[in-house]
Amino acid sequence: MTYARRAWIVLWKDAVTERRAKATLNALLFFSLLLLFVFQFTLGADRERLVAALPGLLWLGFVLTGLVGLGRSFLVERENDCWDGLVLTPGDKSAIYLGKVAGNVVLMLLVEVILLALFALFFNVDVGRALPALALVLPLGTIGFAAVGTLFAAMTAHVRAREILFPVLLLPVQIPILLGAVKATEAALAGEALGSVGPWLQLLVAADVVYVVAGLLTFDALLEG
Protein backbone atom coordinates (compact mmCIF):
# COMPACT_ATOMS: atom_id res chain seq x y z
CA MET A 1 0.00 0.00 0.00
CA THR A 2 2.80 2.39 0.95
CA TYR A 3 4.63 1.40 -2.24
CA ALA A 4 1.59 2.18 -4.39
CA ARG A 5 1.05 5.48 -2.53
CA ARG A 6 4.67 6.48 -3.15
CA ALA A 7 4.42 5.64 -6.85
CA TRP A 8 1.12 7.51 -7.07
CA ILE A 9 2.48 10.66 -5.42
CA VAL A 10 5.33 10.81 -7.97
CA LEU A 11 2.82 10.41 -10.83
CA TRP A 12 0.56 13.03 -9.25
CA LYS A 13 3.45 15.47 -8.77
CA ASP A 14 4.61 15.10 -12.38
CA ALA A 15 1.06 15.45 -13.72
CA VAL A 16 0.29 18.57 -11.65
CA THR A 17 3.64 20.15 -12.50
CA GLU A 18 3.13 19.48 -16.21
CA ARG A 19 -0.50 20.65 -16.17
CA ARG A 20 0.57 23.97 -14.68
CA ALA A 21 3.85 24.57 -16.48
CA LYS A 22 2.79 22.93 -19.78
CA ALA A 23 6.46 23.13 -20.74
CA THR A 24 6.71 19.63 -22.18
CA LEU A 25 3.18 19.27 -23.56
CA ASN A 26 3.28 22.53 -25.50
CA ALA A 27 6.68 21.69 -26.95
CA LEU A 28 5.52 18.21 -27.96
CA LEU A 29 2.33 19.43 -29.63
CA PHE A 30 4.23 22.07 -31.59
CA PHE A 31 6.83 19.47 -32.55
CA SER A 32 4.06 17.09 -33.68
CA LEU A 33 2.58 19.73 -35.95
CA LEU A 34 5.99 20.39 -37.49
CA LEU A 35 6.45 16.67 -38.11
CA LEU A 36 3.09 16.46 -39.85
CA PHE A 37 4.02 19.33 -42.15
CA VAL A 38 7.32 17.62 -42.97
CA PHE A 39 5.54 14.31 -43.71
CA GLN A 40 2.94 16.11 -45.81
CA PHE A 41 5.59 17.79 -47.94
CA THR A 42 7.61 14.60 -48.28
CA LEU A 43 4.78 12.29 -49.30
CA GLY A 44 2.71 14.71 -51.32
CA ALA A 45 -0.69 13.57 -52.53
CA ASP A 46 0.20 9.96 -53.38
CA ARG A 47 -2.44 8.22 -51.26
CA GLU A 48 -1.23 4.68 -51.92
CA ARG A 49 2.26 5.53 -50.74
CA LEU A 50 0.83 7.31 -47.71
CA VAL A 51 -1.30 4.34 -46.61
CA ALA A 52 1.71 2.04 -46.93
CA ALA A 53 3.93 4.36 -44.93
CA LEU A 54 1.36 5.44 -42.33
CA PRO A 55 2.15 2.90 -39.54
CA GLY A 56 5.85 3.71 -39.77
CA LEU A 57 5.19 7.44 -39.91
CA LEU A 58 2.88 7.26 -36.91
CA TRP A 59 5.50 5.51 -34.80
CA LEU A 60 8.24 7.77 -36.12
CA GLY A 61 6.13 10.66 -34.84
CA PHE A 62 5.56 8.93 -31.49
CA VAL A 63 9.26 8.11 -31.11
CA LEU A 64 10.47 11.59 -31.97
CA THR A 65 7.98 13.31 -29.65
CA GLY A 66 8.71 10.66 -27.02
CA LEU A 67 12.43 11.40 -27.23
CA VAL A 68 11.76 15.07 -26.57
CA GLY A 69 9.34 14.34 -23.70
CA LEU A 70 11.31 11.60 -21.98
CA GLY A 71 14.54 13.55 -22.22
CA ARG A 72 12.97 16.26 -20.08
CA SER A 73 11.45 13.99 -17.44
CA PHE A 74 14.29 14.34 -14.92
CA LEU A 75 15.15 17.97 -15.59
CA VAL A 76 12.56 19.04 -13.01
CA GLU A 77 14.37 16.91 -10.43
CA ARG A 78 17.62 18.78 -11.00
CA GLU A 79 15.99 22.10 -10.19
CA ASN A 80 16.48 23.01 -6.49
CA ASP A 81 18.39 19.74 -5.94
CA CYS A 82 15.16 17.70 -5.76
CA TRP A 83 17.23 14.77 -7.02
CA ASP A 84 19.03 14.73 -3.62
CA GLY A 85 15.63 14.56 -1.97
CA LEU A 86 14.64 11.53 -4.03
CA VAL A 87 17.92 9.82 -3.12
CA LEU A 88 17.66 10.59 0.59
CA THR A 89 13.99 9.72 1.02
CA PRO A 90 13.97 6.32 2.68
CA GLY A 91 12.07 3.50 1.00
CA ASP A 92 12.12 1.43 -2.16
CA LYS A 93 13.29 3.71 -4.98
CA SER A 94 11.61 1.57 -7.61
CA ALA A 95 8.32 3.19 -6.53
CA ILE A 96 9.73 6.50 -7.77
CA TYR A 97 10.63 4.83 -11.08
CA LEU A 98 7.16 3.36 -11.42
CA GLY A 99 5.56 6.75 -10.78
CA LYS A 100 7.85 8.41 -13.30
CA VAL A 101 7.13 5.75 -15.96
CA ALA A 102 3.38 6.08 -15.35
CA GLY A 103 3.62 9.87 -15.70
CA ASN A 104 5.55 9.52 -18.95
CA VAL A 105 3.10 6.93 -20.30
CA VAL A 106 0.16 9.24 -19.59
CA LEU A 107 1.89 12.22 -21.23
CA MET A 108 2.99 10.18 -24.26
CA LEU A 109 -0.44 8.61 -24.75
CA LEU A 110 -2.02 12.06 -24.62
CA VAL A 111 0.34 13.30 -27.33
CA GLU A 112 -0.14 10.09 -29.35
CA VAL A 113 -3.93 10.45 -29.34
CA ILE A 114 -3.63 14.06 -30.51
CA LEU A 115 -1.05 13.08 -33.13
CA LEU A 116 -3.29 10.26 -34.37
CA ALA A 117 -6.22 12.66 -34.71
CA LEU A 118 -4.00 15.14 -36.58
CA PHE A 119 -2.76 12.36 -38.90
CA ALA A 120 -6.35 11.42 -39.68
CA LEU A 121 -7.18 15.06 -40.34
CA PHE A 122 -4.07 16.00 -42.34
CA PHE A 123 -3.93 12.86 -44.49
CA ASN A 124 -7.66 12.24 -44.70
CA VAL A 125 -7.33 8.71 -43.33
CA ASP A 126 -10.18 6.92 -41.58
CA VAL A 127 -8.73 5.49 -38.37
CA GLY A 128 -12.13 5.02 -36.72
CA ARG A 129 -12.44 1.28 -37.34
CA ALA A 130 -8.86 0.71 -36.20
CA LEU A 131 -9.40 2.43 -32.86
CA PRO A 132 -10.24 -0.68 -30.75
CA ALA A 133 -7.06 -2.42 -31.93
CA LEU A 134 -4.99 0.76 -31.57
CA ALA A 135 -6.32 1.11 -28.02
CA LEU A 136 -4.30 -2.02 -27.25
CA VAL A 137 -1.28 -1.47 -29.48
CA LEU A 138 -0.51 2.14 -28.54
CA PRO A 139 -0.34 1.53 -24.75
CA LEU A 140 1.72 -1.63 -25.29
CA GLY A 141 4.26 0.22 -27.42
CA THR A 142 4.24 3.25 -25.15
CA ILE A 143 4.83 1.32 -21.91
CA GLY A 144 8.00 -0.31 -23.25
CA PHE A 145 9.21 2.94 -24.78
CA ALA A 146 8.58 4.91 -21.56
CA ALA A 147 10.03 2.16 -19.32
CA VAL A 148 13.44 2.14 -20.93
CA GLY A 149 13.29 5.84 -21.83
CA THR A 150 12.69 6.83 -18.20
CA LEU A 151 15.61 4.67 -17.12
CA PHE A 152 17.97 6.21 -19.66
CA ALA A 153 16.69 9.72 -18.90
CA ALA A 154 17.70 9.17 -15.26
CA MET A 155 21.02 7.69 -16.35
CA THR A 156 21.89 10.69 -18.52
CA ALA A 157 20.34 13.40 -16.33
CA HIS A 158 23.71 14.46 -14.91
CA VAL A 159 25.74 13.88 -18.06
CA ARG A 160 26.96 16.97 -19.89
CA ALA A 161 26.23 15.60 -23.38
CA ARG A 162 22.85 14.13 -22.39
CA GLU A 163 21.01 15.56 -25.43
CA ILE A 164 23.25 13.44 -27.66
CA LEU A 165 23.74 10.47 -25.39
CA PHE A 166 20.06 9.96 -24.56
CA PRO A 167 18.79 9.16 -28.09
CA VAL A 168 21.98 7.28 -28.96
CA LEU A 169 21.41 4.96 -26.01
CA LEU A 170 17.66 4.74 -26.32
CA LEU A 171 16.97 4.15 -30.00
CA PRO A 172 18.84 0.84 -30.46
CA VAL A 173 17.10 -0.62 -27.41
CA GLN A 174 13.73 0.42 -28.83
CA ILE A 175 14.06 -1.77 -31.92
CA PRO A 176 11.97 -4.70 -30.57
CA ILE A 177 9.29 -2.26 -29.42
CA LEU A 178 9.22 -0.48 -32.77
CA LEU A 179 9.14 -3.71 -34.78
CA GLY A 180 6.23 -5.08 -32.79
CA ALA A 181 4.34 -1.80 -32.60
CA VAL A 182 4.67 -0.93 -36.31
CA LYS A 183 3.61 -4.42 -37.45
CA ALA A 184 0.62 -4.44 -35.07
CA THR A 185 -0.36 -0.89 -36.10
CA GLU A 186 -0.12 -1.88 -39.77
CA ALA A 187 -2.52 -4.76 -39.16
CA ALA A 188 -4.88 -2.54 -37.15
CA LEU A 189 -5.01 0.16 -39.84
CA ALA A 190 -5.54 -2.47 -42.56
CA GLY A 191 -8.56 -3.74 -40.64
CA GLU A 192 -6.98 -7.14 -39.96
CA ALA A 193 -7.49 -8.99 -36.69
CA LEU A 194 -4.63 -8.57 -34.22
CA GLY A 195 -4.41 -12.35 -34.09
CA SER A 196 -2.72 -12.21 -37.50
CA VAL A 197 0.25 -10.42 -35.89
CA GLY A 198 0.27 -12.55 -32.74
CA PRO A 199 4.06 -13.11 -32.68
CA TRP A 200 4.71 -9.36 -33.03
CA LEU A 201 2.34 -8.63 -30.16
CA GLN A 202 4.10 -11.28 -28.09
CA LEU A 203 7.41 -9.59 -28.84
CA LEU A 204 5.89 -6.27 -27.75
CA VAL A 205 4.58 -7.70 -24.48
CA ALA A 206 7.86 -9.51 -23.79
CA ALA A 207 9.88 -6.32 -24.40
CA ASP A 208 7.52 -4.39 -22.09
CA VAL A 209 7.95 -6.93 -19.31
CA VAL A 210 11.74 -7.08 -19.71
CA TYR A 211 12.15 -3.29 -19.78
CA VAL A 212 9.84 -2.59 -16.84
CA VAL A 213 11.47 -5.30 -14.71
CA ALA A 214 14.95 -4.10 -15.68
CA GLY A 215 13.95 -0.57 -14.70
CA LEU A 216 12.51 -1.65 -11.36
CA LEU A 217 15.63 -3.62 -10.52
CA THR A 218 18.23 -1.06 -11.57
CA PHE A 219 16.68 2.32 -10.80
CA ASP A 220 17.85 2.36 -7.18
CA ALA A 221 21.50 1.97 -8.20
CA LEU A 222 21.04 4.56 -10.95
CA LEU A 223 19.53 7.14 -8.64
CA GLU A 224 22.31 6.68 -6.09
CA GLY A 225 24.86 7.20 -8.87
Partner: protein
Protein backbone atom coordinates in the same frame (compact mmCIF):
# COMPACT_ATOMS: atom_id res chain seq x y z
CA UNK B 1 45.38 22.90 18.47
CA UNK B 2 43.61 21.56 21.53
CA UNK B 3 40.67 19.29 20.98
CA UNK B 4 38.60 19.27 24.13
CA UNK B 5 35.96 16.80 23.07
CA UNK B 6 35.65 13.27 24.38
CA UNK B 7 35.65 10.77 21.53
CA UNK B 8 34.61 7.90 23.75
CA UNK B 9 31.88 6.71 21.40
CA UNK B 10 29.35 6.59 24.22
CA UNK B 11 25.74 5.54 23.70
CA UNK B 12 24.80 9.20 23.83
CA UNK B 13 26.61 9.70 20.56
CA UNK B 14 24.13 10.12 17.69
CA UNK B 15 26.72 10.86 15.03
CA UNK B 16 30.24 9.53 14.88
CA UNK B 17 32.72 9.96 12.03
CA UNK B 18 36.10 8.27 12.07
CA UNK B 19 39.04 8.82 9.76
CA UNK B 20 36.97 10.32 6.96
CA UNK B 21 38.94 10.94 3.80
CA UNK B 22 37.59 12.18 0.52
CA UNK B 23 39.67 12.71 -2.59
CA UNK B 24 38.53 13.75 -6.07
CA UNK B 25 41.35 12.41 -8.21
CA UNK B 26 44.52 13.88 -6.73
CA UNK B 27 42.65 16.62 -4.92
CA UNK B 28 42.23 15.73 -1.26
CA UNK B 29 39.14 17.47 0.14
CA UNK B 30 38.94 15.80 3.56
CA UNK B 31 41.84 14.16 5.33
CA UNK B 32 41.20 12.06 8.41
CA UNK B 33 38.20 13.78 9.96
CA UNK B 34 36.97 12.52 13.37
CA UNK B 35 33.76 14.01 14.69
CA UNK B 36 31.27 13.00 17.38
CA UNK B 37 27.96 14.67 18.11
CA UNK B 38 25.94 13.68 21.15
CA UNK B 39 22.25 13.83 21.88
CA UNK B 40 21.12 17.39 22.43
CA UNK B 41 24.33 18.81 21.04
CA UNK B 42 24.86 21.30 18.24
CA UNK B 43 28.08 21.60 16.25
CA UNK B 44 28.90 24.53 13.98
CA UNK B 45 31.18 23.54 11.11
CA UNK B 46 33.39 26.47 10.24
CA UNK B 47 35.91 26.91 7.50
CA UNK B 48 36.83 29.02 4.52
CA UNK B 49 35.17 28.41 1.15
CA UNK B 50 36.36 25.07 -0.20
CA UNK B 51 37.45 23.81 3.23
CA UNK B 52 35.27 20.71 2.83
CA UNK B 53 32.27 21.60 5.01
CA UNK B 54 29.66 20.74 2.40
CA UNK B 55 31.52 17.57 1.39
CA UNK B 56 31.60 16.44 5.03
CA UNK B 57 27.87 17.09 5.43
CA UNK B 58 27.08 15.28 2.18
CA UNK B 59 29.13 12.26 3.24
CA UNK B 60 27.28 12.06 6.56
CA UNK B 61 23.99 12.55 4.68
CA UNK B 62 24.86 9.49 2.50
CA UNK B 63 24.94 11.58 -0.67
CA UNK B 64 28.69 11.20 -1.23
CA UNK B 65 30.77 8.10 -0.55
CA UNK B 66 33.99 8.73 1.37
CA UNK B 67 37.28 7.49 -0.04
CA UNK B 68 37.91 5.90 3.36
CA UNK B 69 36.66 6.12 6.92
CA UNK B 70 33.27 5.41 8.41
CA UNK B 71 30.24 7.21 9.75
CA UNK B 72 27.70 6.00 12.28
CA UNK B 73 24.32 7.70 12.55
CA UNK B 74 22.35 6.63 15.63
CA UNK B 75 24.40 3.44 15.65
CA UNK B 76 23.75 2.69 11.97
CA UNK B 77 26.81 2.52 9.74
CA UNK B 78 26.17 4.76 6.77
CA UNK B 79 28.30 2.74 4.33
CA UNK B 80 26.57 -0.54 5.15
CA UNK B 81 23.00 0.60 5.65
CA UNK B 82 22.41 3.99 4.03
CA UNK B 83 18.63 3.47 4.10
CA UNK B 84 18.73 2.85 7.85
CA UNK B 85 20.83 5.98 8.35
CA UNK B 86 18.49 8.05 6.17
CA UNK B 87 15.57 7.23 8.46
CA UNK B 88 17.42 9.04 11.24
CA UNK B 89 18.64 11.99 9.19
CA UNK B 90 17.28 15.32 8.08
CA UNK B 91 19.33 17.23 5.53
CA UNK B 92 18.99 20.73 4.20
CA UNK B 93 21.63 21.64 1.67
CA UNK B 94 21.92 24.60 -0.68
CA UNK B 95 18.94 23.40 -2.72
CA UNK B 96 15.47 23.64 -1.22
CA UNK B 97 14.04 20.42 -2.74
CA UNK B 98 10.98 22.41 -3.76
CA UNK B 99 9.00 22.06 -6.98
CA UNK B 100 8.31 25.58 -8.17
CA UNK B 101 4.98 24.77 -9.84
CA UNK B 102 3.51 23.06 -6.79
CA UNK B 103 2.01 24.98 -3.89
CA UNK B 104 3.62 25.00 -0.46
CA UNK B 105 1.10 22.44 0.83
CA UNK B 106 1.54 20.24 -2.23
CA UNK B 107 5.30 20.25 -1.80
CA UNK B 108 4.97 19.19 1.83
CA UNK B 109 2.41 16.55 0.91
CA UNK B 110 4.71 15.14 -1.76
CA UNK B 111 7.77 14.81 0.46
CA UNK B 112 5.80 13.58 3.47
CA UNK B 113 4.07 10.86 1.43
CA UNK B 114 7.27 9.82 -0.31
CA UNK B 115 9.11 9.65 3.02
CA UNK B 116 6.27 7.76 4.73
CA UNK B 117 5.63 10.59 7.22
CA UNK B 118 2.31 11.99 8.40
CA UNK B 119 0.71 13.66 5.37
CA UNK B 120 -2.71 14.48 6.83
CA UNK B 121 -3.97 18.01 6.30
CA UNK B 122 -3.69 18.93 10.02
CA UNK B 123 -0.06 17.68 10.05
CA UNK B 124 0.79 19.64 6.88
CA UNK B 125 -0.89 22.80 8.16
CA UNK B 126 0.86 22.33 11.48
CA UNK B 127 4.25 22.20 9.77
CA UNK B 128 3.41 25.29 7.71
CA UNK B 129 2.27 27.07 10.86
CA UNK B 130 5.55 26.18 12.56
CA UNK B 131 7.46 28.16 9.93
CA UNK B 132 4.87 30.92 9.83
CA UNK B 133 3.75 30.14 6.28
CA UNK B 134 0.23 28.92 7.01
CA UNK B 135 -1.31 31.81 5.06
CA UNK B 136 0.73 30.81 1.99
CA UNK B 137 -0.14 27.13 1.85
CA UNK B 138 -2.14 27.43 -1.39
CA UNK B 139 0.39 29.61 -3.20
CA UNK B 140 2.81 28.25 -5.77
CA UNK B 141 6.42 28.17 -4.59
CA UNK B 142 7.48 30.06 -7.73
CA UNK B 143 6.03 33.20 -6.15
CA UNK B 144 7.98 32.76 -2.87
CA UNK B 145 10.99 34.82 -1.80
CA UNK B 146 14.29 33.04 -1.06
CA UNK B 147 13.62 33.30 2.69
CA UNK B 148 10.13 31.82 2.35
CA UNK B 149 11.52 28.92 0.34
CA UNK B 150 14.12 28.33 3.05
CA UNK B 151 11.38 28.26 5.70
CA UNK B 152 9.26 25.90 3.63
CA UNK B 153 12.25 23.61 3.24
CA UNK B 154 12.56 23.64 7.02
CA UNK B 155 8.86 22.76 7.33
CA UNK B 156 9.68 19.58 5.43
CA UNK B 157 12.16 18.73 8.19
CA UNK B 158 9.54 19.49 10.85
CA UNK B 159 7.33 16.78 9.30
CA UNK B 160 10.17 14.27 8.99
CA UNK B 161 11.16 14.49 12.70
CA UNK B 162 14.78 13.35 12.25
CA UNK B 163 17.11 12.54 15.15
CA UNK B 164 20.14 14.07 13.43
CA UNK B 165 19.90 17.33 11.53
CA UNK B 166 22.48 18.32 8.92
CA UNK B 167 22.16 21.89 7.74
CA UNK B 168 24.34 23.58 5.15
CA UNK B 169 24.42 27.30 5.92
CA UNK B 170 20.87 27.32 7.31
CA UNK B 171 20.73 31.04 8.13
CA UNK B 172 21.52 32.12 4.57
CA UNK B 173 18.59 33.93 2.97
CA UNK B 174 16.61 34.28 6.19
CA UNK B 175 15.53 37.66 7.52
CA UNK B 176 15.74 38.58 11.23
CA UNK B 177 12.39 36.98 12.01
CA UNK B 178 13.20 33.82 10.07
CA UNK B 179 16.63 33.54 11.72
CA UNK B 180 15.08 34.00 15.16
CA UNK B 181 12.50 31.32 14.40
CA UNK B 182 15.18 28.94 13.16
CA UNK B 183 17.35 29.54 16.22
CA UNK B 184 14.40 28.82 18.52
CA UNK B 185 13.38 25.77 16.53
CA UNK B 186 16.89 24.33 16.63
CA UNK B 187 17.04 24.92 20.39
CA UNK B 188 13.78 22.96 20.77
CA UNK B 189 15.18 20.22 18.50
CA UNK B 190 18.30 19.93 20.66
CA UNK B 191 16.23 20.09 23.84
CA UNK B 192 14.28 17.06 22.58
CA UNK B 193 17.54 15.12 22.29
CA UNK B 194 18.36 15.71 18.61
CA UNK B 195 21.90 16.14 17.32
CA UNK B 196 22.70 19.02 15.00
CA UNK B 197 25.56 19.75 12.62
CA UNK B 198 25.50 22.93 10.57
CA UNK B 199 28.02 24.53 8.32
CA UNK B 200 28.02 28.26 8.67
CA UNK B 201 29.77 31.53 8.02
CA UNK B 202 27.46 33.32 10.46
CA UNK B 203 29.16 33.41 13.86
CA UNK B 204 26.36 35.38 15.50
CA UNK B 205 23.17 33.37 15.02
CA UNK B 206 24.88 30.01 14.75
CA UNK B 207 26.52 30.29 18.14
CA UNK B 208 23.10 30.74 19.68
CA UNK B 209 22.52 27.03 18.97
CA UNK B 210 26.02 25.59 18.61
CA UNK B 211 27.63 24.04 21.66
CA UNK B 212 30.83 23.29 19.79
CA UNK B 213 32.69 24.76 16.88
CA UNK B 214 34.57 22.43 14.55
CA UNK B 215 36.96 24.33 12.29
CA UNK B 216 38.02 22.77 9.00
CA UNK B 217 41.16 23.98 7.31
CA UNK B 218 43.05 22.38 4.48
CA UNK B 219 40.84 19.28 4.64
CA UNK B 220 41.63 18.63 8.30
CA UNK B 221 39.81 19.29 11.53
CA UNK B 222 41.98 22.11 12.80
CA UNK B 223 40.01 22.64 16.00
CA UNK B 224 37.00 21.19 17.81
CA UNK B 225 36.18 23.38 20.79
CA UNK B 226 33.32 24.14 23.16
CA UNK B 227 31.79 27.50 22.30
CA UNK B 228 30.68 28.64 25.77
CA UNK B 229 34.10 29.11 27.41
CA UNK B 230 35.54 30.97 24.43
CA UNK B 231 32.53 32.95 23.31
CA UNK B 232 31.95 34.05 19.74
CA UNK B 233 35.01 36.33 19.77
CA UNK B 234 37.28 33.58 21.04
CA UNK B 235 36.06 31.17 18.37
CA UNK B 236 36.51 33.85 15.74
CA UNK B 237 40.16 34.35 16.81
CA UNK B 238 40.70 30.60 16.74
CA UNK B 239 39.08 30.46 13.29
CA UNK B 240 41.37 33.20 11.98
CA UNK B 241 44.40 31.33 13.31
CA UNK B 242 43.27 28.00 11.85
CA UNK B 243 42.47 29.45 8.45
CA UNK B 244 45.78 31.31 8.32
CA UNK B 245 47.64 28.13 9.33
CA UNK B 246 45.80 26.19 6.65
CA UNK B 247 46.43 28.79 3.95
Amino acid sequence: MTVDVDHSGSLDCLLSARGLRKAYGRHLVLDGIDLDVRRGEGVALLGANGAGKTTLLRIVATLVRPTSGRVLVAGVEVGRDPEGARRQLGFLGHGSWLYEDLTALENLRFWATLGGHAASMPALHGALGAVDLDRWGGERVRAFSAGMKRRLALARLVLARPRVLLLDEPFTGLDQQGSKWLEEHLQVFKGAGGALVMSTHSFGRSFGVADRAAILADGRLAADVAVAPLGADGVRRLYDLAVEDGA
